[in-house]
Symmetry: C2
Subunit: 230 residues, 2 copies
């Protein structure tokens, strides 16, 4: 049984990646990194998802006091009302400096310590916000860096990076999630993190595109509505 | 004036790298990462050094609860009494999984946020403990990873990594430190972190080799002795 560490934010993509990892028969541990996001909705979602799967779950706080992102600094506005065609044209204010590099490096450390052979990340380079650290050529280079800079690499067992959603559309991700029985109502995607998803940030827009394309209702929206109405 | 971020542990090498960066006329900020080391002597040394230089200093705590190193887990013995020839033959128990990858990724995040063009690290691949993340080919690959996975890289201003001590002997590092007027008595190298350096861990041994080769007395030892006797 292959041992894996899956980066889990608690959103649609990373939760689907986690369920995919389980479906491959891996012995998977999840790693959630609290990096000073303005809200903690995702962290709570991640906890609920791991409890449901009964898998080991490390949650660590890694402060990035230098900010430099709308997700870290409330004075930088989060772009709203962009359609998928506008996303990917430039790097938006929600880009967090070197975030995936920080995440993958911590996942690599965790992997080496527990003897995991593979890191799984739910990154996507098709329906995405244009972040440079979500592109295939970035993951290829990071894999090489790990091969050269870790004990496991030096000993001929380099850690691999799997990004199973990398070349999927959001529609395909939603359909995959459905087939894997991902508890989509428990995932949280919105950047703004209020009682109800805002519906207009890039992350909400991409999620809508996925559910819309798949012809499915987003259970998170119904669930949140139910909570508000109850 | 070039803007730089220098990783500072508070030891001989990183402090010399910091003074070297200043000597190059850079506008330098220091970054110290507390990653769960068994002692805090180095952190205190780093604070004192930055106060002396009057430079910005970020100190962040990045837990690595998974351990996997003698520097993190008191149940794993720290190798002692090895001579420099024995070091570098294998990867010792003091290797911290993916440590420099974690450090450099955080330095990259900090650099992007403040607009620094270069990260300086005091790594050394000659008189060293055999860590894979101290070798030139590792730094080359990490530089490429940053080029591909950051906003600055995507915009044609990739962050560079400088490791000015990489190919120097410890003797040369001590002589460079002396010429740069590094307050060597304030640096802390020992892995064991008691009142007085142990003198037998790899880090103490390499430091002795440097001072011995340079024909200098280690002022830290005299300073510690003075404190103990006073």
């Amino acid at each position: 049984m292959k041992k894996a560490v899956c980066l889990l934010s608690g959103g649609l993509d990373s939760t689907t990646a986690l369920y995919w990892t389980k479906s491959q028969g891996c012995d998977v541990s999840a790693l959630t990194i609290h990096y000073g996001q303005l809200h903690e909705c995702e962290i709570e979602a991640a906890k609920t998802i791991c409890r449901g799967l009964e898998i080991p779950h490390q949650i660590i706080s890694v402060p990035m006091p230098w900010g430099g992102s709308a997700l870290l600094d409330k004075d930088i506005p989060i772009p709203i009302d962009r359609d998928a065609a506008q996303m990917g044209q430039d790097i938006p204010a929600t880009y967090v400096p070197a975030r995936n590099t920080v995440f993958l490096s911590l996942a690599a450390s965790y992997s080496e310590a527990i003897g995991a052979e593979v890191i799984v990340i739910g990154a996507n380079a098709l329906d995405y916000s244009g972040y440079p650290d979500c592109r295939p050529e970035y993951f290829e280079s990071f894999t090489e860096t790990l091969k050269r800079g870790t004990r496991s690499g030096a000993e001929g067992r380099p850690i691999q990076i799997e990004a199973p959603l990398l070349r999927m559309t959001k529609k395909e991700i939603v359909l995959l999630a459905q087939s894997l029985k991902v508890p989509l109502e428990k995932t949280w995607s919105c950047y703004l993190g209020k009682e109800r998803p805002c519906g207009v940030c890039d992350s909400c827009r991409l999620r809508q595109k996925g559910f819309g394309g798949a012809g499915l209702e987003d259970p998170q929206i119904s669930d949140v509505s139910a909570r508000i109405l109850s």
